[in-house]
């Protein structure tokens, strides 16, 4: 069940291929795992995240559903309660809202409501985030909605390796997981991914770069411009620590607080609208647990408080390396 078991063979995969590989791995290992959603079958998903699975596992395990998100998630609740492990795909995270009631009223609560008699192990996958010049509602980053709902876990990977390992963890998790995939970097780069099964634990952040001047917390697609900024600043002598949270619910409080205690300064980068985003939560955690270490305000580099724009404007909306660099510099110079 862990890295030890792998043959040691790796493949060089894109992030979306790692999704597919994770699904394939778990479907091969456990016949209760099924994939369902709009266009996930013959079409292989609009992003090809389920490519080839229908050919491999057939109609009963890779299921094209009618066009109804509440239907997809709501039937998945019944399936999970009956003993399957459904992995519903919602085509874009902006289309999860028709299923919002099922997610918050049932997926998140079935175990609690029935005191464990019924459980709801499922992974709701959806591509999230902006930057691909997509139509309206195709670019949102609203992880804060799900992180505010107890009973759910929320995972947002940023590398092919983590994606496969976290997806496998999510499928094996006894509780429901919202798995938000950074579609901007679905194909932006490749990474080494073990061919065998392995897991990356849910709820653990990872340090992408160690540093001592300032802690930069981010996740998902924003890891890229953040790393760009951090590396640029390293050349200018600013030694930033870059933490990829990977899971936004539960947040890895320990990793956040520990890094902050070391640096005393923090920048949080995400693409959600600033007000009410998890950047606020992270800030609150820091000052609750490490106020005495704090040497500068926590700087939130987020999306703006507007509906995600059509693509002519999206480059102004999304945090970029220049904005992040500026925030880090300000924080260090405070």
């Amino acid at each position: 069940m862990s890295t030890q078991e792998t043959t040691g063979q790796t493949q060089s995969l894109t992030l979306v291929q790692a999704v597919r590989d994770g699904l394939y791995t778990e479907m091969s290992a456990d016949e209760d795992v099924i994939v369902m959603g709009e266009d996930v079958g013959k079409n292989g998903g609009v992003f090809r995240a389920t490519e080839g699975l229908w050919e491999q596992f057939g109609d009963d395990r890779v299921i094209d559903t009618p066009l109804a998100e509440s239907g997809i998630v709501g039937t998945a609740v019944g399936m999970a309660a009956y003993g399957l492990k459904p992995v519903p795909e919602i085509q874009f995270s902006g289309f999860m809202y028709p299923a919002f009631d099922q997610i918050v009223s049932h997926v998140a609560r079935l175990r609690n409501r029935s005191r464990g008699r019924f459980t709801c192990p499922m992974v709701i996958r959806a591509p999230y985030g902006g930057g691909i010049r997509a139509p309206e509602h195709h670019s949102e980053s609203k992880e804060a909605f799900y992180a505010h709902e107890a009973g759910l876990k929320v995972v947002m990977p940023s590398t092919p390796y983590d994606t496969k390992g976290l997806l496998i963890s999510a499928i094996r998790d006894p509780d429901p997981v919202i798995f938000l995939e950074p579609k901007l970097i679905y194909r932006a780069f490749r990474g080494d991914v073990p061919e065998d099964e392995y897991t990356v634990p849910i709820g653990e952040a990872t340090t992408r770069r160690e540093g001592s001047d300032v802690s930069v917390f981010t996740y998902g697609a924003m890891t890229r411009p953040t790393m760009e900024a951090v590396e640029e600043l390293a050349e200018e002598g600013i030694d930033a620590e870059m933490i990829d949270l990977r899971t936004v619910s539960p947040l890895d409080r320990e990793a956040i607080v520990e890094s902050f205690k070391k640096t005393g300064r923090a920048v949080v980068v995400n693409e959600a609208p600033k007000t009410g985003s998890l950047a606020g939560e992270i800030t609150a955690i820091i000052q609750e647990e490490a106020l005495l270490y704090q040497e500068a305000p926590v700087n939130r580099v987020s999306g703006f408080d507007v509906p995600y724009p059509l693509y002519a404007l999206e480059d102004y909306y999304l945090p970029n390396a220049a904005r992040i660099t500026k925030a880090i510099t300000e924080t260090v110079e405070f």
Binding site: P66, M79, L84, D101, S105, R111, R115, F118, A150, K153
Partner: protein, 369 residues
């Protein structure tokens, strides 16, 4: 011909309002019929006591079922061992038939999550408060049964007339139609969704005809006739578990059980604001309990003596259930965090500690003053 293959506006009846047989009897033993009578009497008595507990401040808001016993008891008795039940919040009678102890139902309405912890060997889903949402769970579970090859298992799902207006109802029936799930959708059309009458809920003449939209059969049944309800539900369950489609006609069914809620929507509701006493009286003439009683007396299945014995037994059992439920202590704070996740996360430990610190400092009273 199956009783399901008829015009959805053509009401299936077995007993008339006086309990006389006007339709073909279902294939059912006398013992079961008497058991159904007993269960209806129990449900009615339970209901009366529950309402009074609420009035006395011994229980929270409670949704009464009186008038709706036949629909619940008749359909629940039609279920096979492997079948599952997906209730809304009003089907205490049906849940009891399927094995949920009365004290657990009371506990639930007394605000204890424990009431929703359905016993392990009982396949009844927990109470669904958000209207119509359970129709999707039922479809999904039925679908899973079918995918797993459990061909003897069907899922019976209850919901109200009001529930048919929600999007989830539509999606659930549509999925069921597309995937031929072993589903029986059972609409307890009690004429009212709180204060909104059935005619205002939808312009469709019957609820049964809505099945047309999903490509399967809909049937209207007299929901205050326990034998008709049994019969229709049984046929629908058989259809749901028939050999695999397409050869066999294994298909879902929508049942509209026409009935009436005699009492308030919940104990927080005052129906006199929105409906006439006269209408209530008209429907009281269809009361399922005297109807089945008179049928049973005619057939020699019940007499004064056995009826009195049933009444006494039912009274005792409900009294015991109340005592048992009321003897359960208020849950401790850790119950708040129990089973939110399989494993309690760190922040839950911190939050529980916060409560415990306050309790240690001020005593438990500080939370309840």
């Amino acid at each position: 011909m199956s009783v399901l293959e008829r015009d959805p506006g053509d009401l299936v009846q077995v007993l008339d309002e006086d309990g006389a047989v006007v339709g073909e009897l279902p294939d059912i033993g006398d013992e079961t019929i008497v058991q159904m009578y007993r269960d209806m009497v129990l449900a009615r008595h339970f209901d009366k006591r529950a309402v009074s507990l609420q009035r006395q401040g011994r229980m929270g808001t409670y949704p009464p079922l009186s008038g709706q016993e036949a629909a619940q008891i008749g359909s629940a008795h039609a279920l096979g061992d492997d079948d599952w039940l997906f209730p809304s919040y009003r089907e205490h009678g049906a849940s009891f038939v399927r094995g949920i102890p009365l004290d657990q139902t009371l506990l639930y309405w007394m605000g204890h999550e424990a009431g929703n912890k359905v016993p392990d060997d009982v396949n009844v889903f927990p109470v669904a408060v958000p209207i119509a949402t359970q129709t999707l769970h039922a479809t999904g579970a039925a679908w899973a049964a079918s995918l797993k090859g459990d061909t003897d298992t069907a899922m019976l799902c209850y919901f109200g007339d009001g529930a048919t207006s929600e999007g989830d109802f539509h999606e659930a029936l549509n999925f069921a139609g597309v995937f031929d799930t072993p589903s029986v959708f059972f609409c307890n059309n009690n004429q009212w969704a709180i204060s909104v009458p059935r005619e205002h809920q939808t312009a469709s003449e019957t609820i049964a005809q809505k099945a047309t939209a999903y490509g399967f059969e809909g049937v209207q049944v007299d929901g205050m006739d326990p034998l008709a309800v049994y019969k229709v539900t049984r046929e629908a369950l058989e259809k749901a578990t028939a050999a695999a489609p397409p050869d066999s006609g294994r298909r879902p069914t929508l049942i509209e059980a026409v009935q009436y809620r005699f009492g308030a929507h919940t104990t927080a509701d005052d129906p006199s604001v929105y409906r006439d006493a006269e209408e209530v009286e008209r429907w009281q003439a269809k009361d399922p309990i005297p109807r089945l009683e008179s049928f049973c007396r005619d057939r020699g299945l019940l007499d004064d003596e056995s009826i009195e014995a049933i009444d006494t037994d039912v009274t005792d059992r409900v009294a015991e259930a109340i005592e048992s439920a009321e003897s359960v202590a208020r849950p401790l704070p850790e119950a708040l965090f129990e089973s939110v996740y399989e494993t309690m996360p760190d922040r839950h430990h911190d939050q529980l500690a916060e409560i415990e610190a306050l309790r240690a400092e001020h005593g438990d009273e500080v939370f309840f003053e």
